[in-house]
């Protein structure tokens, strides 16, 4: 008895106690809803059976119905394009900026801080502003492109099926770049300076130093950022709601917006849940990448 007591105040019991609290928290607030969501995707749900748990199970019917819909594959493809292009854009520009500020000219840290403003802004506000910038007739972006001679006629970013998805991607890259930049800056400052000194003594040029020192030393940071980027872009909802609402004709629709539309606009909760399950699979994959790339960081 005494052993158990003392283990709780100091020892394994204490550790288990500490761990079980957040675990219970996670289980109640994330685990249960996740399981509930998966269960819902195998049931027939409408708004009047939302309150009860005993709903008829329909097997894979929701999944089969979903993939029989003509818009499903285009929307999945849109999601893939959106995620890939957003991450690529955010990462490349973010890395470029991080390297730029790493040079450490006067005022660099100030400027870097200012860049974070875009990350602090609520998605809906960003969406509303980009909505104006991208507007076809009076948008600032069209004005700039026209005045610089890049285009001759207005591009209807939000309403032209060829551009609508890219309109949201542009806004999303703007929104996520600073987050990438800050994390990459942290990674860069963690690289010991003597490595570069040694390489310089051996006669490595800037490109070789970047390729053989910076990139390998940043591997875990980059892995974490790409994984986080995948999760953040799969979560991106506000910009779609504010800029295109998934239109025109689903050409800028992605799974996360579609799941919401099905559940809360068409009250087809089962299909909404089904799409969410498909998304969970992708996010799980990203989480594994994230955990693997950051596991070396924890030392104790």
């Amino acid at each position: 008895m005494k052993r158990i007591l003392s283990s709780i105040t100091d020892g394994r019991g204490f550790d288990i106690g500490l761990v079980s609290l957040p675990l219970a928290f996670l289980f109640v607030l994330s685990g249960l809803p996740l399981v509930y969501n998966v269960v819902m995707s195998f049931q027939e749900v409408d708004m009047f059976s939302l309150g009860s748990f005993s709903r008829p199970f329909v097997g894979f019917k929701n999944y089969i119905d979903l993939f029989a819909q003509p818009e499903t594959w285009p929307i999945l493809l849109n999601t893939a394009i959106f995620v890939t292009a957003s991450i690529a854009g955010q990462f490349l520009i973010g890395f470029g900026l991080a390297l730029f500020f790493w040079v450490n000219f006067p005022g660099a840290s100030w400027l870097r801080g200012l860049f974070l403003v875009s990350w602090v802004m609520p998605g809906l506000v960003v969406g509303a502003i980009w909505n104006w910038i991208l507007s076809g007739d009076f948008g600032v972006l069209n004005f700039l492109l026209r005045e610089t001679g890049v285009i001759s006629g207005n591009i209807f970013w939000r309403s032209d099926p060829n551009y609508s998805l890219w309109a949201v991607i542009i806004a999303n890259i703007w929104l996520g770049t600073s987050f990438n930049m800050i994390l990459l800056s942290v990674g860069l400052s963690g690289i010991p300076k003597d490595l570069y000194e040694a390489a310089e003594l051996d006669g490595a040029n800037a490109f070789q130093r970047f390729w053989t020192i910076t990139l390998p030393m940043m591997r875990s940071t980059i892995g974490a950022i790409v994984a986080l980027g995948l999760i953040f872009t799969l979560q991106q909802f506000d910009l779609f709601a504010a800029i295109t609402s998934g239109g025109p004709n689903n050409t800028s629709n992605v799974t996360q917006y579609w799941a919401w539309d099905l559940s809360f606009r068409q009250y087809d909760f089962a299909k909404g849940a089904t799409i969410s399950v498909i998304m969970i699979v992708f996010v799980m994959f990203a989480s594994v990448v994230y955990v693997r790339s950051t596991r070396h960081e924890v030392r104790g």
Partner: protein, 410 residues
């Protein structure tokens, strides 16, 4: 023994006589009302006035947000915490009525001296009707018509007192009024991929003999072709596909569009913002003499089926109905009734516009009613957008929509 029995009976008799009296004076019946009306809109004000009358019924009000009405109501109903009365958007009324979530008010309406079905416009009344019974009372109504810029009509040699009457005239006028050099489009409306797109398109289909259950009718295809002509020839901004009615009419107010299709909710803003002479006309029809039609918006009152006080809830609704003549004067909303003459406001443009809207209301048709309306609406929106972006022909798009709707209607 027997004495005690009699005493019990006596006490019981006494109690049963005195209870109703007691409950009326000592303990008021509480009726809860949910709607999305803000403090300057009808519900909270009518409730305040009602509570002042001390009828033994106390009304509690809760404001809900537009996007939450249905989901909140569902959640409350399925967990047994629904309010007694709710205001619900008219295309969603059937969803609740068909599932028995709303109380059938037919008998109470038949006995009522205040609520009389014959006083209502056909459209709003149809939206509360399910299976021949009344599951609610129309709260307010609105519809769409054609706003036009009289100054621009004059400048382009069109008669400002002869707005376009038919679709052909509308397209022709739009062609004349479009002036890219001045950043002016001929017309503006909303073909957005949400309920607004359906709201704007259905009247066109209905005028030409189509409808939500006959969406690929020849006339409906022609209607969509007219829309496509307008978009393809850039008589309206391509952003029509992603812009709400409110934003679209904003471009009319700023002088960037010469005509606009929208509802009476625009009038006050237009009076404040538009620096030109404008008028309102009935929606153009397919050809002279064709059947008119229009969209019908706004909310209905309904009583939830699991209310404990149906009689009292109905009394509250009767009070709301008795105040319908204040709807426009005090709150700027159109009462859903044909027997109430809307008094002049003294603002000539507003009064002229109102007359047109009241006339247009006679032709307003509800969306549905059908319990799966959101799915039907989605099929129509998808068709509009597929055709206007050129991904399908109007016929193909509407055929596909008809197919989807047939699956929903079963």
């Amino acid at each position: 023994m027997s004495i005690r029995k009699y005493a019990m009976l006596g006490a019981f008799a006494l109690a049963s006589v005195s209870l109703p009296a007691l409950s009326a004076s000592a303990e008021d019946v509480t009726i809860s009302v949910w709607s999305l009306d803000r403090d300057i809109q009808p519900a909270p004000n009518l409730i305040k006035d009602f509570n002042k009358m001390n009828t033994g019924i106390k009304v509690e009000y809760r404001q809900i947000q537009f996007d939450d009405v249905v989901s909140e109501a569902m959640r409350a109903y399925s967990t047994g915490q629904a309010p007694d009365i709710i205001a619900v958007d008219n295309p969603e009324h059937a969803l609740f009525a068909s599932r028995g979530a709303f109380l059938d008010l037919s008998e109470m309406i038949a006995k009522s001296s205040v609520v009389k079905p014959e006083n209502y416009f056909k459209g709003p009344l149809a939206s509360v009707t399910w299976d021949g019974k009344y599951y609610g009372i129309p709260k307010a109504t609105n519809t769409i018509a054609l706003y036009y810029n009289k100054d621009m009509f004059k400048a382009k040699g069109l008669d400002p007192n002869k707005p376009p009457q038919t679709w052909d005239e509308l397209v022709e006028a739009a062609r004349k009024l479009t002036d890219p050099a001045q950043n002016v489009y001929g017309i503006t409306f909303s073909a957005k991929a949400n309920e607004e797109g359906t709201f704007q398109f259905l009247p066109w289909a209905q005028m030409a003999g189509g409808g939500y259950d006959n969406i690929n009718a020849e006339g409906a295809v022609k209607a969509l072709d007219v829309w496509k002509t307008i978009i393809d020839e850039k008589l309206a901004s391509p952003d029509t596909l992603t812009r709400s009615q409110w934003d679209a009419t904003g471009t009319f107010n700023s002088g960037n569009a010469a005509m606009a299709i929208s509802g009476p909710w625009e009038i006050d803003r237009m009076l404040a913002e538009a620096k030109f002479d404008w008028g309102v006309a009935l929606l153009p029809v397919p050809e002279a003499g064709a059947e008119r039609s229009s969209a019908m918006g706004d909310f209905n009152w309904a009583v939830f089926a699991n209310t404990e006080h149906p009689e009292e809830a109905f009394k509250v609704l009767e009070y709301f109905v008795s105040q319908d003549d204040r709807m426009f004067k005090d709150f700027g909303q159109l009462p859903p009734r044909s027997d109430i003459a809307i008094p002049a406001t003294g603002e000539p443009k507003k009064d002229a516009a109102l007359q047109v809207f009241v006339e247009q209301l006679k032709y307003a048709k509800p969306r549905g009613p059908h319990p799966a309306w959101p799915k039907i609406s989605k099929a129509i929106q998808d068709a509009i957008q597929a055709a206007l972006t050129g991904q399908m022909s109007s016929k193909e798009a509407l055929d596909q929509a008809a197919e989807k709707i047939k699956a929903v209607l079963g």
